[in-house]
């Protein structure tokens, strides 16, 4: 435990919110912004600027931010869990699912 970290929700209908500070597994998250105040703990280490699920999101459901679907869940997601390339895919850009989870760098490009 290293204190509270702010989780910022943009739209009342969102099922994810943005972490404003780096959090470690088990850290308490302080809800801020739109929507209902809630108690959450980080499921795993998650970096500032990344998204965390506010409630359970079943496989195939929309990931909602700004009140709009920003992608589709490619796995069942638990509250407090990091939402990124490993469990959310674009409806348009197929390539983003092939990027490295942490660096965002393409993994399929051949250099030789």
């Amino acid at each position: 435990m290293s204190g509270k970290h702010v989780l910022f929700q943009i739209h009342a209908q969102d099922n994810v919110a943005t972490l404003l500070d780096d959090a470690r597994q088990g850290d308490l998250l302080e809800h801020r912004g739109e929507g209902q105040d809630m108690f959450l703990q980080a499921w795993q280490e998650t970096a500032a600027g990344h998204k965390i699920a506010l409630r359970p999101i079943p496989l195939g459901d929309s990931i909602i931010k700004y009140g709009v679907a920003i992608g589709i869940a490619t796995a069942a997601i638990r509250p407090g869990e990091w939402v990124h390339l490993h469990n959310c895919k674009s409806r348009y850009d197929a390539r983003s699912s092939l990027l490295d989870l942490n660096s965002g760098v393409p993994t399929e490009t051949r250099y030789e």
């Binding site: 702010v6 910022f8 943009i10 943005t18 972490l19 404003l20 801020r32 912004g33 739109e34 970096a47 500032a48 600027g49 990344h50 998204k51 990931i63 931010k65 700004y66 709009v68 679907a69 920003i70 992608g71 939402v83 990124h84 390339l85 959310c88 895919k89 674009s90 409806r91 348009y92 850009d93 983003s96 990027l99 942490n102 660096s103 965002g104 760098v105 393409p106």
Partner: protein
Amino acid sequence: MNDPQWQGYLRADGKLGVRNTALIIYTVQCAEFVAHQIAQDEPDTHVIGFPGCYDNEYAIRLLLALSRHPNVGAVLAVGLGCEYTQPARIAEVVGRSGRPTRSFFIQEHGGTASSIRYGKSLLNALKRELEAVPRVSMSWPDLVVGCECGGSDGTSGLAGNPVVGRFFDWLVDQGGTAVFEEVVEMIGLRHELEARAAGETARIALGLTYEKAEQYCRAVRQYSVSPGNFAGGLTTIEEKSLGAFAKSGSRPIQGVIKVAEAPSHPGLWLMDSVPDQHFMQFGYTNPNDTEGIIDLISAGTQVVLFVTGRGSVIGSPISPLIKITGNSKTFQRMSDDMDFNAGAVLDGTMTLDQAALSLAALVRNVASGGLSKPEKLGHREYFIPYKHQDTPGLLEGCRA
């Protein structure tokens, strides 16, 4: 904010300005120095121009729209004498709007020093006419506000743009007009754009504009997302696009206007600054922030908002630029340049609604004559490139 009215400037064509500016236009780069020297030490006198010798219909439309802008009361067009773009034609067309105008060629007035003297005498005559412009009450329904973002960081999509979006909702509800742009940053949002259309005509226009932007991105191989964006926490192009789109708020979109077109009625409008198909294929959309801002001003926006998370030190001619950051650290570090701290929303010291109303109070203050930070510092950057856009249709907008 209790008094929704303030004093503006009534133009002969019925437009209402929040500044009473004399505009000097140079019609080729060769006349730029003389134009700036004429404006030197002259209050409320701004300079714009087009550097190319070969003319460009897009640029001429843009110069004319800026000359007939609500904040502009008089125009002096200065040319060298051998370029394609004709200062006398600009003066003639702008004169039809009832604005006093003058024009001359440097080559006919004996060089730099005598041209500056002659230009100053013409400017003084114009300024005497500007003093007679009637002051009238104006309020939110008379105001057109633009918004652009640039120098963005993670806070722009979280706080900066959403605060502007909430303010735009409020402005539109007051009967005002709001204009946003950057269609190429809305890739992936075709459905959201169309769903926001105020009617069938707007829906078709939004669909076509989106399609053109997507084709443009394919043609120039430039999509607006990078590995660094993903590493920073953005997961999809839709998410990134929504961060930019957030500045549009939630009200219906009345339609699409092109550069140098004015919205035909109040409400929220999308500006399309993407080049249309042309035999020379020249043109680039939003090559930099100052180009995007001058495009917004060409729609008749009397005040423009600029959201910059990392912080930017630009301003604009003709219409005051209000600089907003969603990053409290940027606001503190660049306090001489930043007008508004939307970062208060992330800090938890203001709600989105409180921030939007506070921004409205600032816009009202600037509209009623209070200087924005870039105005105080004397910033008047702009960029007018060669570009091609098909002549705007009259279906949804009218020439500014």
